[in-house]
Symmetry: C2
DNA sequence: AAAGAATGAGACATCAACGTCTCATCTGAT
DNA sequence: ATCAGATGAGACGTTGATGTCTCATTCTTT
């Protein structure tokens, strides 16, 4: 039952993250069901979008949990987080693009919680001396999420190999684009 | 005449970059004109969206030109590019979110040209030893644009001060989030 | 095999945004 | 002051997506 709902939601993500205005026909076809059945599972378009958003936030929260970002050294924690979150990067891309979701107070609150956790990770890392302090924890958190979404889009459009997603993300975000001759 | 069109387009960007499905009523109100006049300037919604996209690409191309990314050392070129592009970050955010734009061959070709220029900048920087070679020029280009769009969104939503946009972007993209004790 | 549930296909009404039109009002130039 | 042009406000029909319905078919369970 729940797995059925989730499989439909995953199919919806694959369509909606690319084209947020896709018709229900299209989503139903992507999920391999008819529009009638789609309506039997979700009362309407709005409910479907909300459920996709909620799924995305659940998975993001689960990634934060499984990465145990609140413990251990912060750099390793961030690397674990990337590994945990990249498989669901498409969902993050959806969350990033569907700003209308945050009109819903429940969704918004759930997001605030997760975002605060990420910000806390960066703040802790800054206090420990792992992350740069010239950049605010808020901006680091925001930029991190932007890049996760970017990986999601790039993978989905075939511009980035799924295998490379986590590595490209970590290396750029942590190390930057500049080569450091004095480092190696 | 042209300034009038452009002022309407700028108003449209401020609305559409945040909510791509905004009604024409809303856009007209944001531009300070009536829906009738909006229709007199642009034949329809589709044309309006296309024009906004074209404006964004023109401004992006102008930023690449004014930054002279094809000459000089690549790191400085990138810094100049950031300074030139951040004021129009909202337009880039719109371009990033409106994937449907790229169905239009003219828009798509224009984008390909600019994207190739950015990729060439990174490739040149890699050959010159300024940029890391473990990350593909394509990914660097993609991530750069993601962050520019992120700055646009963050500034528009008040999460990032406009003054900080360029600095935050350059520092994170070039230097990464990691602090380097052996550097300073 | 038979009964029940679930699904797909399609028809149908509804509704909101869009595009077009008209007319009154305002502005600006002569 | 007058006239031409532009604008705003609003009405109107059209269109397309949505939500609901029915019915035939398929799958499941016993």
């Amino acid at each position: 039952m729940a797995t059925d709902r989730d499989s439909v939601l995953e199919a919806a993500v694959s369509v909606l993250s690319r084209r947020p205005t896709a018709h229900l026909d299209e989503i139903a076809r992507a999920a391999g069901i008819s529009r009638a059945t789609l309506h039997r599972i979700f009362p309407g378009r709005e409910a479907l979008i909300r459920e996709v958003g909620a799924l995305g936030l659940r998975k993001f929260a689960a990634a934060l949990d499984s990465a145990a970002i609140e413990s251990g050294d912060t750099q390793s924690a961030l690397r674990r987080l990337v590994d945990a979150v990249v498989p669901d990067a498409a969902l993050c891309a959806f969350l990033a693009g569907e700003n209308q979701l945050y009109d819903d107070p429940e969704i918004n609150e759930l997001w605030e919680i997760q975002d605060a956790r990420v910000r806390a990770l960066f703040l802790r890392g800054q206090k420990e001396g792992a992350f740069r302090i010239e950049l605010s924890a808020g901006w680091l958190s925001e930029a991190f999420f932007d890049l996760v979404a970017g990986v999601g889009w790039a993978v989905q459009d075939g511009r980035l190999a799924p295998r490379d997603g986590a590595h490209s993300l970590v290396e750029l975000f942590l190390g930057g684009a500049l080569r450091r001759p004095d480092q190696s």
